[in-house]
Amino acid sequence: MDNTQSFQFFNRGPSPAVRLVFFVVLSLLLLFIDARYRYLESTRSALSVLVSPLQRLATMPGVLWQQAGDFFTTQRSLVEDNKSLHQQHERDAAQLSQLQALQQENQQLRNLLALPQRGELAMQAAEIMYAERDIFKRKVLIDKGADANVQIGQVVMDDAGIVGQITRVYPRLAEVTLITEKDHAVPVQVLRNGLRTILFGAGDTSQLSLRYMPVSSDIQNGDLLVTSGIDGIYPPGIPVAKVVKIERDAAYPFARVTCLPVAGVDKHRHLLILSGLPRLPERPAEEPAAAQNSKTKQKK
């Protein structure tokens, strides 16, 4: 029989069982505090100083591979790239001049109608350092952090549309939660008819879904969804997703609408962080409690 456990010649501190209980309780406590109150962000960024050299080192093989690929790019593909980029540029330039005229016109109209002006968006370029190496999450880390004045809640996009939102800021890194993250919501509008709705990420695939769309709602395959800007977080009018599949089943009150993101959520390396979003006017003061209660009841 195993009697080494009860009979100790040397004092080696508390027994494994005691240590187990101690560290399990400590972990559970930390889990609870982190999940509920998020008090530990400063500790996290302090510890990240220890870990980040290792993380940077871990990105090196990928960077080297990429550099090697860049080095061996053939002359022909460069020429072709250059050509297509030139064409793209010419097309874009034509559109841009049109856009400027429209912008002018829009400004004048807004002036006439005494609507507030749409502010210009300040942008900051950033590069993806690596994708989150956790199968549970759809997040990427970018190379701009608190030192570049990146803030939590800022919107991240690429050249085509919305990619995600900044959810955590480290001294020299920031974490972007992609719009495909489970339950990540973006308020959107159907470009064709202005129908407002909310777009949710699905988590395990790169798909998005519209929930709570009545079966009878006017939505079609190929509809482009753009941000509605109602929440005051996402600027209005930026493409987010395209509708690819609609299932209308009369047995359910809501249609199942599947969308794909417009932006290369999983593809690109270079992203833009939007900063300096227009401030929304303050919410009106809360109504008296009684009035509010009756209102919430009505909503239910």
Partner: protein, 171 residues
């Protein structure tokens, strides 16, 4: 039999702190490589494997406390909840320390089944915490448990070689 000579003399060979620290750092580095897509699903948890190796081979040097601390570092590296890896690795270390007598009696092939049990427990705890907090499960995550188990034999042979090299250099 009240006392038996360990079948595996390798267990008693000395090991330097440098090797332990280096192997843990290397494991954190390997976990941190940009794994993506299918590879991410199949990624073995190198940190868990290395910790389990040291907990079963040098339980007095690497134990529950150190595993917990490494778990906290892994939490920071992975941006998971504080304590998620730490909790899983604490249980892993406890399993390792408890089983280290038994593992001594087995050869590598037999050890693998035991190791699979401990790793499965670790993976389950991690997934369970995630499920509790976020309310959904990603099943392919458990594939990593299998690949980790498959790595136990090569890892043990590698560490054995590394320790042997050191011993022959010292003499």
């Amino acid at each position: 039999m009240p006392y038996s000579v360990p079948a595996n003399p390798e267990i008693q060979r000395p090991v330097s702190n440098t090797l332990i620290v280096f192997s843990v750092l290397l494991a954190l580095f390997l976990n941190g490589l940009p794994w993506e897509g299918v590879w991410l699903m199949l990624r073995p948890d190198f940190v868990a494997l290395v910790l389990l190796y040291w907990c079963t081979h040098k339980p007095l040097r690497v134990g529950i406390g150190l595993s917990w601390a490494v778990g906290i570092l892994a939490d920071v590296a992975d941006a998971s909840l504080f304590g998620q890896h730490a909790l899983a690795y604490t249980l892993l270390a406890f399993g390792g320390v408890m089983l280290h007598h038994r593992l001594k009696m087995f050869d590598l092939r037999q050890q693998t089944t035991q190791v699979f049990g401990i790793l499965a427990l670790t993976y389950m705890v991690y997934a369970l915490v995630h499920w509790q907090v976020n309310g959904y499960m990603v099943w392919p995550y458990f594939l990593g448990c299998l690949t980790s188990t498959l790595l136990w034999v090569p890892l043990s042979i590698m560490f054995q070689a590394a320790r042997q090299m050191r011993v022959s250099r010292d003499h």
